[in-house]
């Protein structure tokens, strides 16, 4: 298996401006050559006729639950789900128990991921100790341990002074602070978007402004400090506009959006559908369209899953008690193709940029490209085949998705990480 030749596929590699029919040669787990035609020369052949060959997808925002809630997900099941979804690299959010606020937990995550050896897992450390929003963690130690970013995800950093110091101090590391932008006082007790659906159901709402207020503050602080803020899972049109303006002024900001916020609105909650309960909440059609626009004009840099697995019994509860979150790794690509590529809003190349090369760049990783000499992380996709989402067949322990029963286009046919097949 030292030499693998992927033959006849449509290679889409936005990082190298490549979009055409090429053969890809892999040697010792690395990309050795890409040419219109490469002689066989004893290599093992993978016939890629009719499929897309893209750099392995990269998820900046995954919840793996290990350590602490292995009943919801483990690093092994989450990794398998990632591979199934076409991802070869995922970034593990630090809201575990204990949280990834010191080297011990970060090492544990990286070692466990290496042992199962399915996809590359990079830890995101927390910004504050215990994710309590009071004291900074040892940033240098966390980055030395391999964290690609820091975040208190799930909790926002509410204290403006602390956020200022964090952005300032993080500057020397050249890595982003990922903010879950939500003003805790404005969001308090809310379980879905504040609007007609929440009024009808009598549920406590979270106004869009809970997000945009904190986005505005963080942009001001990034401008003040010159620090780098990455805004997680955008949900409101106002936030998109604020970031668009800030980018024009040269503020160091990047951001992401989830497939579910691109595809759905608060109408998906219907009559207390907990599988559509997610934080930030699904908002209005106007917000959804603004997110799509932001993605198209480059305001939004990338798509991240915010894969948030839970047990079935926890989601089989009343809307207030059910936890926030959607199991997203295995539907991300299909939902994006349905929502963005099929209607002609993004080309395949643009989609792969949002799902692979851009998140890799934000994470400071060498993946997300099919450049010669790089690790051979690549995903083969049948862009025409359709499948129906059956959560009972997920590799993830999280079976809760508002996309259950939907027919999606594009099937992941094969995933190679470092030249080794990890899913098909």
């Amino acid at each position: 298996m030292d030499r693998i030749l992927i033959r006849g596929g449509q290679v889409i590699d936005p990082a190298n401006q490549r979009d055409g029919r090429f053969d890809v040669l892999i040697e010792r787990g690395k990309i050795a050559d890409i040419q219109p035609s490469i002689p066989l020369n004893g290599a093992t052949v993978i016939n890629a006729t009719g499929t897309l060959v893209v750099p392995g997808l990269v998820d900046l925002h995954t919840h793996l639950r290990e350590p602490g809630r292995e009943d919801k997900e483990t690093i092994a099941t989450g990794s398998a789900a990632a591979a199934r979804g076409g991802f070869t690299t995922i970034c593990a959010m630090p809201n575990t128990t204990p949280p990834a606020d010191h080297r011990g937990v970060v090492d544990l995550i990286h070692q466990a991921a290496q042992r199962c050896g399915i996809v590359s897992v990079h830890a995101v450390g927390s910004i504050t100790k215990g994710r309590q929003g009071k004291e900074l963690t040892d940033f240098g130690e966390l980055f030395d341990a391999g964290c690609i970013a820091l975040s208190d995800d799930g909790n926002p950093v509410a204290d403006s002074f602390l956020m200022r110091r964090a952005l300032e101090y993080a500057k020397v590391f050249g890595r982003p602070l990922i903010q879950h932008a939500e003003d805790p006082a404005l969001a308090a007790g809310g379980v879905m978007h504040e609007g007609l659906v929440s009024t009808t159901l009598g549920l406590r709402g979270i106004p869009s402004e809970a997000e945009s207020v904190l986005v505005a503050r963080d942009l001001a602080l990034a401008e003040l400090t010159g620090g780098w803020v990455h805004v997680a899972h955008l949900s409101s049109g106002t936030s998109v506009e604020l970031i668009r303006q800030a980018k024009r002024r040269g503020v160091h900001v990047t951001c992401e959006v989830t497939p579910h916020h691109l595809a759905l609105t608060h109408e998906a909650v219907g009559t207390f559908e907990t599988r559509a309960k997610v934080n930030p909440p699904l908002r209005t059609e106007q917000d959804r369209l603004a997110l799509v626009d932001g993605l198209r004009d480059g305001t939004i840099d990338c798509i991240a899953t915010d894969h948030a697995p839970h047990t079935e019994w926890e989601k089989d509860a009343d809307f207030d008690s059910a936890p926030f979150g959607i199991s997203g790794l295995e539907t991300a690509l299909g939902v994006c193709v349905e929502t963005l590529v099929k209607p002609g809003l993004l080309t395949w190349s643009q989609l792969i940029e949002k799902l692979s090369s851009n998140p890799a760049r934000i994470a400071g990783l060498e993946c997300g490209t099919l450049g010669v000499g790089r690790e051979a992380d690549l995903t083969l996709i049948d862009p025409i085949a359709q499948w129906t989402v059956d959560p009972q067949r997920f590799a993830s322990k999280g079976r809760h998705t508002p996309f259950a029963g939907r027919t999606l286009t594009s099937v992941v046919v094969r995933v190679l990480r470092h030249g080794v097949e990890v899913a098909r």
Binding site: E194, G195, T200, S321
Partner: protein, 333 residues
């Protein structure tokens, strides 16, 4: 069953096909009228010396109240007893509800005991819906969070119909804490479906977003919103007051109960501008001197106790209808 025209009831059951009563939003005007008519047939039973008929003999009703309640629970209990059903009361302090058991596990255990009707009260919106999805027994919503309280709205509709002879075309103003009120929501659905013009009135902080569109989903005109009490009183045939919770003050939704009374409390003086035959309604319990002055609560326009009496008939009707309706998952020979 002399006064209970059995033929009437049989046709009404035929018009009623639902296993559950979860809210008024999903009911048609026809279904609402069916319940009100059935309640009319049952009302007389409570006036007899022997207040009991055997229509639900052998059926088991469970009052599953996750949230404390006296009047609704008692009303359901008496309604079940007057129909000869067996009834069990489960309240949070005396059960595994306080031991961290999930709602669905509680229900699965009750169903293993072969019960027929579950009457559910819960502080969280949507619990009766969740239970109805998983249970084969009939589910009656006795109030879920700020979502719906269908039997309260039905007894309100019944009372208006009784006092005014119609609902269509009447002006009904609902006053107070609309945002947190399941009574307001159920009444908005019920009243608009039966052709009443609904106005909601309260401070902006107690008005949920886009409330004006509620009711319009049913093809109606939606509701009018005002923050001015005198305009809500002027021209109204019915004033529905809502209980204002003390916690609203702490949540900064109103500056104080005193301020609320000054701006939205119903006093005798304010009623001087009202129609001479206005009806004053309140789901109880009343905060005397806050949303309603005693002189009004006990005054000639008040029908608050008629509401309680009618509640019994309405709950008998609902218990009867859901028990009689063919069950979706039941396979009977």
């Amino acid at each position: 069953m002399a006064a209970l025209a059995t033929s009437d009831l049989t046709t009404q059951t035929a018009r009623w096909t639902r296993k559950d009563l979860l809210g008024l939003r999903e009911l048609s005007a026809e279904e609402i009228r069916c319940i009100l008519q059935t309640a009319g047939s049952f009302r007389e039973i409570s006036l007899r010396p022997i207040k009991k008929v055997p229509v639900l003999r052998g059926k088991t009703v469970v009052n599953l109240f996750f949230e404390a309640s006296t009047r609704t629970r008692t009303s359901f209990e008496l309604a079940a007893k007057r129909l000869s059903a067996d009834i069990v009361n489960i309240t949070p302090q005396h059960s595994s509800l306080s031991k961290g058991e999930t709602v669905l596990d509680t229900v699965r255990n009750l169903e293993a005991l072969k019960v027929d009707v579950l009457v559910i009260r819960h502080a969280a919106a949507g619990v009766p819906h969740l239970i109805a999805q998983h249970a084969t027994s009939s589910v009656i919503n006795a109030g879920d969070g700020a979502h719906e309280h269908p039997t309260q709205a039905l007894l309100d509709l019944f009372t208006i119909q009784e006092k005014r002879g119609r609902i269509d075309g009447l002006n009904v103003s609902i006053i107070g804490d609309i945002a947190h009120s399941r009574v307001a929501r159920s009444n908005i659905w019920g009243l608009t479906k039966l052709g009443a013009h609904v106005t909601v009135c309260g401070p902006p902080t107690l008005m949920p977003p886009q409330i004006e569109q509620l009711g319009s989903a049913a093809g109606g005109a939606g509701v009018a919103v005002t923050h001015d009490l005198s305009s809500a009183i002027r021209g109204a045939d019915v004033l529905m007051l809502l209980r204002i919770q003390h916690e609203r003050q702490e949540a900064m939704l109103i500056p104080s109960l005193r301020e609320f009374r000054l701006r939205y409390g119903i006093t005798r003086e304010r009623l001087e501008a009202a129609k001479p035959d206005i009806l004053i309604m309140h789901p109880g319990p009343v905060n005397r001197g806050v949303e309603l002055d005693s002189s009004v609560a006990d005054g000639p326009f008040s029908v608050i106790l008629d509401q309680v009496t009618n509640g019994l008939a309405v709950r008998m009707a609902v218990l009867y209808l859901v028990s009689g309706a063919p069950k979706v998952d039941e396979e009977e020979g």
